[in-house]
Symmetry: C2
Subunit: 104 residues, 2 copies
DNA sequence: CTATTGTATGTCGCATCTGACATATTGCCA
DNA sequence: TGGCAATATGTCAGATGCGACATACAATAG
């Protein structure tokens, strides 16, 4: 199986190999997942450019290392709200965020 | 008081006239509120262009008229997740959404 | 005026998301 | 190899968001 496909299904909260592997993902749902993945990996970029660890970023956000890890991987337990708030708090601008989203 | 300021504070979940009127809104929080307001009013634009009522849009979203009203006014009980999902379901593209966000 | 249609506001029970914590895994250096 | 720092994964109780409903307000037609 394609590695990207695995990441996407995982982000959507599905088990790779489950029966609903290719089912039930409407185009809008798929776009939503792509969007979260893009923002998550952009958050990682921002963090790495600042040379912060996940724990350091977490402290600035008032969150925890484990949640930052989940944000970056666009875990299904992470909301767009949290991702966007984290990006803004990490120093990204709305312009940056918008560009990332528009590029999905 | 400036009308826009009122809308923004209201969206942030504050009572206009409360003691914390000009307090506690960090730049990132303000940006986040602006973002929701922009998406909410864009959702209204999309809906009106399609000549739908809030109730009709709600039906397509599997939601309720009252929640659509809250989305459009960027009520504090509405998440970015819901706004973005609603926009995508209403036919907006990620490119559109990204542009709106970048323009905040 | 008074229906009717559309929109706004307030509340509630249930569902999902949150930070925190424990623990597993990875990567790197001596 | 062992040890340490960084990251990933799983779980939980409390916080927040959700659709639904009731009801209030606004605008327009008859």
């Amino acid at each position: 199986m394609d590695e990207n496909k695995q990441k996407r299904l995982k982000a959507a909260g599905w088990k790779v190999g489950s029966a609903s592997e290719f089912l039930g993902l409407t185009p809008e749902e798929a776009e939503y997942v792509e969007l979260k993945l893009a923002l998550g990996s952009y958050l990682r970029d921002v963090r790495l450019n600042r040379r912060w660890t996940q724990a350091q970023l977490a402290e600035r956000l008032g969150s925890s290392q484990s949640r930052v890890a989940k944000m970056e991987s666009a875990d299904s337990s992470v909301s767009l709200d949290l991702l966007v708030k984290a990006l803004l708090a990490a120093g990204a601008s709305t312009k940056d965020v918008g560009r990332v989203i528009a590029a999905v």
